[in-house]
């Protein structure tokens, strides 16, 4: 790599999930400045939504939130949440980046995160909470979840009466409730430009939209859930406080279906999503723990428990009276209050029909909707399925554009340990660029 002059030893990290956070910390700890751009109002990414994590079953937020606080308070990291990169110019060593900060309508400096505004909001408990996958409700002024970083409220411009109708009663109640006068309905979008020597892309994944497999009835039957929805349902901090139920009823029969939207050419995803076998095993275990007498079935094609401690975990789950059925169902339909599942058991070589109360789909990991657009801005390409493409085979971090590196699931699906290792790797490669410039 020829030494190029680096204008500023700053790294830009796009995406504040676990990969982006790890990359930021690794770079910042070495004394370089980091600008971390996150499009959501809080950092944390998908990991914040998980209940427990395989294979050790440690509570996801308990291990994540200290890291979020570390990122939020690191002297070398400027975390710009609710912001997006809109333009990138220049080359390694001297990228000029324009970032759009969306208005929160709440002054970050004044907000103490006390939450009185949300209590006062007339829309309180009316709006579906995205973080809880719509299972819980929130106000129009809100914080995505209690441990969000920054711990600052924001106003949802699509639901706030002031912002949509120009009027909210006699006087907006939130404004009245706020002791520090932090609410500002006149806030405007703002663009800032920064310079950076290297870029780490860590924009993660989207969950496969299970409506694309209509035969499973997702979206039609409320007791067919996606993987992340089920995580929120299990979570102690979730809408049901961790009790597994729908409409207040505890299911006595639960069926998990693997490879939904993965290894499936009919939806255009030939690849394996790498985590869903394991998260299904974990979720089945959580059901067993909370509903000891439930009948639990896992429908699978292959069980891919390949990571460290994974086979051992899978072995443990297998012993928890869980039925493993090889062969994914062809159809799910409703009979009365229950769901009927129909398919062929490929081990027994015979068709089956099973009645159940709840179906959880192991929805796969797909590229971010806006990945292509971001890729174009960055000047990097993607593989046919849409994940960002690495420059060399076997090297998963560098891209074809010098100075731009990949970390986490934006490169391809992976679990948290692999995302974290790769993120540290991206940090190393970014710091090599930055260090060359400094010396």
């Amino acid at each position: 790599m020829p030494a190029q002059k680096i204008e500023s030893p700053v790294a830009l990290v796009i995406g504040g999930g676990i990969a982006g956070m790890q990359a930021s910390l690794d770079i910042a700890d070495k004394g370089f400045k980091v600008v971390l751009v996150e499009k959501e109002p809080t950092i944390g990414g998908h990991m914040a939504q998980l209940d427990k994590t395989f294979p050790t079953l440690d509570c996801s937020s308990c291990i994540l939130t200290p890291k979020m606080v570390e990122v939020g308070s690191h002297p070398n990291i400027e975390a710009m949440t609710y912001s997006e990169v809109i333009e990138i110019q220049g080359e390694m060593g001297d990228f000029q980046i324009t970032i759009r900060k969306k208005p929160r309508y709440v002054d970050l400096k004044k907000c103490t995160g006390c939450g009185l505004c949300a209590e006062a909001c007339v829309q309180r408990t009316r709006i579906a909470n995205e973080f809880d996958m719509g299972i819980g409700k929130r106000a129009a002024i809100y914080i995505p979840f209690p441990q969000a970083v920054p711990q600052k409220y924001l106003i949802d411009p699509d639901h706030c009466l002031m912002l949509t109708k120009g009027k909210c009663g006699k006087e907006p109640r939130c404004q009245k409730a706020c002791g520090t006068h932090a609410i500002d309905f006149n806030q405007k979008e703002e663009n800032v430009t920064i310079q950076a020597g290297a870029i780490v892309v860590a924009t993660g994944y989207d969950q496969f939209d299970a409506r694309l497999k209509p035969e499973y009835g997702y979206g039609r039957y409320e007791n067919v859930l996606s993987g992340i929805e089920f995580e929120r349902l299990c979570s102690a901090s979730g809408p049901t406080k961790g009790s597994i139920e729908y409409n207040g009823v505890e299911p006595k029969r639960v069926v998990f279906i693997q490879c939904v939207g993965s290894r499936d050419k009919t939806v255009g995803n030939e690849y394996c999503s790498r985590v869903c076998c394991m998260y299904t095993a974990k979720q089945a275990h959580l059901v067993r723990e909370r509903i000891p007498d439930a009948k639990i079935t896992i429908c699978y094609m292959d069980i891919r428990a390949f990571g460290k401690g994974y086979e051992e975990f899978y072995d443990r789950v297998q012993k928890e009276k869980i039925i493993f059925r090889r062969g994914n169902p062809s159809e799910i339909y409703k009979r009365g209050e229950s769901l009927m599942i129909r398919g062929e058991d490929t081990l027994l070589g015979e068709p089956y029909e099973e009645e159940t109360d709840l179906v959880v789909l192991a929805t796969g990991l797909v590229p971010r909707q806006d990945a292509e657009q971001l890729g174009r801005m960055l000047g990097i390409s993607h593989t046919p399925e849409g994940f960002f493409k690495e420059a060399e085979t076997k090297e998963t971090i560098p891209t074809s554009k010098p100075g731009v590196f990949l970390a986490g699931c934006c490169q391809s699906p992976k679990d948290i340990p692999d995302a974290v290792a790769q993120a540290s790797g991206a940090a190393a490669m970014a710091c090599i660029c930055l260090a060359e410039g400094r010396s």
Partner: protein, 647 residues
């Protein structure tokens, strides 16, 4: 003494289940407390300002914060009080969230408990002593152990970041297992393309010192200032003089079966350790050489036109000083003879996947027709999970690469041996990585047949071998003859892992691979500060994941080097030399090897950089000679006393 007490609502997290105002008023009544406040988020900027203002205005000298767990915000509040000029250790946290509001729902009793916790914290706060964090300087270099693809990549990254690296490799050649592969999944590029440039890069980098044919014998010190002793073994060939003409090889009368090539060919007692790597120094195998046996031969020495052969060459011990260490010692391959029922070692038609890699590589190079003995194999079977997912041999784990390398090898057969019949016997097909499922698909499309159910037995049938097992999909037994069977042998911990573990006080996971300190969030760090893991020494993985880890380990290892100094936490053990009798009991319980006996003074001494402040030694010392700063007996007894008085 002037104590300030701050009770946090944590939004509603605490306030919903604890009457924070009541706790505040309770604290106010304490004789030593001059001020007590409650606030929605003590950790927020306005909350922090409250504390800072009070310290200045009221001249407070101890602070109690009743809030969440200290793992969450102890550091935050220490920073706050030190900004106002107080010693950062004049802080005591009462955890009224995790230990109280989150676990109790009866508001009255939770409030009582919160009061108890606060009064215990006040009691301890009065006895807190000032502590000073220390710093020490860092040797700006790293040691990388293992010269496989992981170790080479990590070494290169560290050097590219501007630091010196010593790369120690046990064998005479760099490259590890990848150097012995043919083409690599999923994109089937040649292994040489991955290894060759990396070998060249580390050999030519000015900041990397490569020490092949060497082993680490001793490691002392701690993060920032490790010192290592490295045994450099002699080649008995002077690398400077030797011009690699190869005359000596012709003269040597001894033939040895080559272990490094999976015993598939012979070499001489003096030999090039690799036949295709650029990094070769000739060497003499002392176990085979007749000169070393009985001095009966010196033909090579007489033949060498350069006079490069030197039977008297001696190994040496080299000392290196480094700031951080990366372990990248890789894996070994499961010994298939342990599965006697599969006939490996008994039938020449049964080989391992690693051997198959060498065969395909040489067939590819020479363009000769693949043959096993005299026959061109037409019916070829691949058997998954040999030595993996198998509790009988003690390896419950999955080896993570064999499904995909089997797909690669099976595809190779279909593409290179016309009208071959290829069957893969599996338990599950785990082709999970980027491009792997596609490779598996491709193999199937090219006519590789997958059968669920690995054979329980392999036996001879004429000039073929017969696989017997049960087809799990059809639920029927099968018996089928093949010309060649390739066993997908798993990855096992490398032989030297155990001794290296002892040398560095690391831990191994139950599966025998090196253990990371946190399986999710710190997959590259070990429990010993300054020592990191890269590649398959931590667990089986493919080249892509190995490389990602190697870059990652380089990042972890250079952080301290970039910082140039390490902070030493002052919350560590201290020895009362007046009481210590040097019995050494504490040394045994210390997991971090922080305690050593000073033989002259017959006293234990403590390495402040190694001590983690875990407290194990305090409770072990029969004489009570060790105490943990910040958790001294009198401080803890005061807490206990306050709790009991609360009743």
């Amino acid at each position: 003494m002037k104590i300030g007490v701050y009770i946090c609502h944590c939004g509603i997290n605490i306030a919903d289940h604890v009457d924070v105002e009541a706790v505040r008023d309770f604290a106010k009544d304490h004789p030593q407390v001059v001020i007590a406040r409650d606030y929605t988020y003590m950790c927020s900027d306005p909350g922090q300002d409250l504390i800072m203002r009070d310290i200045e205005m009221e001249r407070l000298d101890r602070i109690v914060v009743a809030a969440c767990s200290p793992t969450m915000h102890e550091r935050t509040f220490r920073n706050v009080i030190s900004k106002s000029g107080l010693n950062p250790y004049f802080l005591e946290i009462a955890n009224i969230r995790e230990h109280c509001s989150w676990v109790h729902h009866d508001r009255t009793r939770a409030t009582e408990k919160a009061k108890d916790l606060v009064s215990a914290a006040i009691a301890k706060a009065q006895l807190l002593e000032p502590l000073q964090a220390q710093e020490k300087s860092v040797t700006p270099s790293s040691l990388v152990i293992g010269g496989g693809i992981a170790g080479m990549q990590a070494a290169f990254d560290i050097a590219a970041s501007g630091f010196r690296v010593v790369l120690v490799e046990k064998t005479p050649v760099l490259g590890g297992h990848v150097a012995r592969l043919n083409r690599t999944f999923p994109y089937l590029e040649e292994a040489e393309q991955l290894i060759g440039p990396r070998i060249e890069a580390v050999l030519n980098h000015a900041r990397i010192e490569v020490m092949p044919f060497s082993e680490v014998e001793k490691i002392d010190g701690s993060v920032g200032e490790f010192s290592a002793e490295i045994r450099r073994r002699p080649h008995y060939v002077d690398g400077e003089k030797c011009d690699r003409c190869g005359e000596c090889l012709k003269s040597c009368p001894v033939d040895v079966i080559d272990d490094s090539n999976y015993r598939r060919n012979a070499r001489k007692a003096v030999y090039f350790p690799s036949t295709d790597g650029p990094n070769e120094i000739l060497l003499i195998d002392t176990e085979a050489c007749l000169h070393f046996k009985d001095q009966s031969c010196d033909r090579c020495q007489r033949t060498c036109p350069q006079g490069a052969i030197d039977f008297t060459q001696e190994g040496r011990l080299e000392q290196v000083q480094v700031g951080t260490i990366i372990v990248a010692t890789g894996h070994d391959i499961f010994d298939a003879t342990k599965k006697t029922e599969l006939g490996y070692g008994k039938y020449q038609q049964v080989i391992t996947a690693a051997e198959f890699e060498r065969l395909t590589a040489s067939w590819g190079r020479t363009k000769e027709t693949p043959r096993i003995g005299d026959t061109v194999p037409k019916a070829i079977a691949f058997v998954h999970c040999v030595g993996s997912r198998d509790k009988q041999v003690g390896n419950e784990y999955c080896s993570r690469v064999c499904c995909t390398y089997t797909a690669k090898q099976a595809l190779w057969v279909r593409e290179n041996i016309p009208d071959s019949e290829v069957m893969v016997f599996y338990i599950d097909v785990r082709t999970f990585g980027k491009g792997y499922e596609e490779l598996y698909e491709r193999a199937q499309k090219r006519g590789v047949i997958y059968k669920k159910g690995v054979p329980s037995e392999i036996f001879r049938g004429g000039d073929k071998v017969v696989l017997r097992g049960e087809d799990a999909l059809l639920g029927q037994p099968y018996e089928k003859a093949f010309d060649l069977v390739v066993l997908a042998t798993g990855l096992i911990p490398s032989q030297g892992a155990q001794s290296l573990k002892n040398l560095m006080k690391l831990s191994l996971s139950p599966d025998g691979f090196f253990m990371e300190v946190h399986p999710k969030l710190r997959p590259l760090d070990t429990a010993v500060d300054g020592i990191f893991l890269a590649g398959t020494c931590q667990g089986p993985k493919d080249i892509a994941d190995t490389l990602a880890q190697a870059h990652g380990a380089a990042s972890r290892a250079t952080t301290t080097l970039f910082q140039g100094k390490v902070a030493i936490d002052p919350v560590i053990a201290a020895i009362d030399e007046g009481i210590c009798s040097g019995c050494g009991i504490c040394e045994e319980v210390c997991e971090y090897a922080a305690l050593t006996l000073d033989p002259y003074r017959r006293l234990m001494t403590i390495n402040t950089a190694l001590c983690k402040g875990c407290g194990a030694c305090n409770s072990a010392c029969p004489a009570g000679a060790i105490s943990l700063k910040h958790f001294k007996p009198e401080q803890i007894i005061a807490q206990v006393y306050a709790l009991c008085m609360g009743e």
